[in-house]
Amino acid sequence: MQGSGHAVCLGADIDTDLVIAGRYLRTKDHSLWVAHVFEDLDTSIAPRLKGAVIVAGKNFGCGSSREQAAIALHEAGVVAVIAPGFARIFFRNAINIGLPVIECGITCAENQDVHYDLALGYVEAGSKKYPVRPLSPRMQEILASGGLVNYWKAHL
């Protein structure tokens, strides 16, 4: 599985409350989450997310288990999230809804093209190529199916 997008650089320890605040969790309306994604972190981020690869610092997605955070990013058009480390629940939620999450520490330059290939196991940004440990075959299959729901349907 591969993809590319423009880099949106974020810091470390971005918690899921910052991705989508608790006050927007009353609804099942995905478009509301998209409208308010990262609102409490920086309102200038949301308009730049379509086709973006988020490049964050350590411990991305920490805190609450709210899957709404992964959904908000995915539906806002985020192509993948790259960070040196992810909080466990967010990592799993992202895979489960088909949002690639890549464990890798890279130097981020705003808007720079970032390319990744999960089968071959690398991330490329600027002129630099970073090796990444490939995801397990099952995780890759889940991602390629677009998430656990579709993966499961295909295996019925």
Partner: protein, 416 residues
């Protein structure tokens, strides 16, 4: 072959010896859903072709985050979940019992040796009852509701060995803030944290719940305390089970062992905007507060409220600040009420609310304005967590919260 308590639980459930690092499909003994993540989990259950849940008696459903419904949207979520409960024959505690984690443990829905999942990150609290319990997202929960099993990577275990005797008005919350500061916000990612040692053996269930509750604040997949006399005594009347031995082998392979001595531990305060920022209270003493919240799954039990009442004594809360006290469950509320503490709190100037999450998630009521400071016994002080992103949240113990509510500024509870 030696094993950690977590490896023993997974081995028993999987019917074969498994060790940390292995990925297993394990059956689950309980699955908890609430009003925030439940609706999405139910949607996922249906999307996966679910028609009948694996076992209605193993599903714990209740509403606690936005109750009584604070909006039409929340009311709609409640209706959606009630309908699902009725359809599936699931007992729904609805808005009546309190905060999900407290209720799950006190109703005996998590017990030693069990694997319990919850669509909430603080599910790790059930480790206080000797269960392996972990928070999951809604898609995983949809899968769990349908199949009664889930893929798990058996985690390595960090063993926190605690010795020493707490000073007066220093306790489990101060210890876990200290441990979080030591391990860091991601220091236990993908790992379980086992709390052990003489001090933990002496801790009551309330204190053990406070410790396990905050394992997630270090990225932990689970927190756990090996069941002992105190655990089995607590389980009496909640679950029909014969006590059995379940503990890590002394020579088991741990990711690491860390030692803590609490004898010199000062009350701790985590400063904005991360949980691993705990400092001795003396470092932030005198900081003005606008609101004090005593409650949540972390510190809303009778023992916590009794400690706050003890610190309060015959004094009044500072009338210039808001003091919000919320027992974690109906049972805890009743115990507090019978002990005369609710009256005491109300007379001292506090606002006592019915059991729910309250200001902890910043989704319902009790929010703070820009520039305001909240001092809270809950578990997270992330930016915007309790309202405005220009506000600040400090975390502390019930004793420190009560002392500060009297003075109106962060105060060492040993000096009140």
């Amino acid at each position: 072959m030696t094993a950690t308590i977590v490896e023993k639980i997974f081995s028993q459930k999987c019917g074969s010896e498994v060790r940390a690092g292995e990925v297993v499909m394990a059956p689950i003994d309980g699955a908890m859903i609430h009003d925030i993540t439940g609706p999405l989990a139910i949607q996922k259950f249906y999307e996966m072709g679910g028609t009948q849940v694996f076992d209605p008696e193993r599903i714990i459903m209740l509403f606690d985050h936005q109750i009584p419904a604070d909006s039409i949207e929340a009311a709609n979520n409640h209706v959606y979940m009630r309908k699902f409960a009725a359809e599936q024959g699931i007992h729904n505690y609805d808005i009546n019992e309190g905060v999900c984690h407290q209720v799950t443990i006190e109703k005996g829905r998590a017990a030693p040796g069990e694997i319990v999942v919850g669509a909430d990150s603080h599910t790790c609290m059930y480790g206080a009852a000797g269960a392996f319990a972990t928070g999951i997202g809604s898609t995983d929960m949809g899968f769990a509701l349908k199949f009664g099993a889930l893929y798990f990577k058996v985690p390595e275990t960090i063993r926190a060995e605690v010795s020493g005797k707490f000073q007066k008005r220093v306790g489990a919350k101060d210890l876990i803030l200290r441990i979080a500061n030591d391990i860091g916000a991601d220091g236990a990612t993908y790992k379980a944290i086992e709390f052990a040692g003489k001090t933990v053996r002496k801790l009551d269930m309330a204190g053990r719940m406070t410790l396990c509750n905050m394992a997630i604040e270090m990225g932990g997949k689970a927190g756990i305390v090996a069941p002992d006399k105190i655990t089995w005594e607590y389980m009496k009347g909640r679950r029909k089970m014969k006590p059995f031995d379940l503990e890590s082998d002394e020579d088991a392979t741990f990711a690491e062992r860390r030692s803590y001595n609490v004898s010199d531990l000062e009350p701790q305060v985590a400063v904005p905007h991360n949980v691993d920022t705990g400092v001795p209270v003396s470092r932030v003493a005198g900081t003005h507060v606008d609101q004090v919240f005593i409650g949540s799954c972390t510190n809303g039990r009778f023992e916590d409220l009794a400690e706050a009442a003890e610190v309060l004594g015959r004094k009044k809360f500072n009338p210039k600040i808001r003091v919000i006290i919320i027992p974690a469950s109906r049972d805890e509320y009743l115990k507090t009420l019978k002990a005369g503490l609710i009256e005491k709190f109300v007379k001292a100037g506090a606002l006592v609310e019915a059991p729910c999450c309250g200001p902890c998630m910043g989704g319902a009521f009790g929010l703070i304005a820009p520039g305001e400071v909240s001092l809270s016994t809950s578990n997270r002080n992330f930016k915007g967590r309790q309202g405005s992103t220009d506000g600040k949240v400090y975390l502390c113990s019930p004793a420190t919260a009560a002392a500060s509510a009297i003075t109106g500024e962060i105060t060492d509870p040993r000096e009140v």
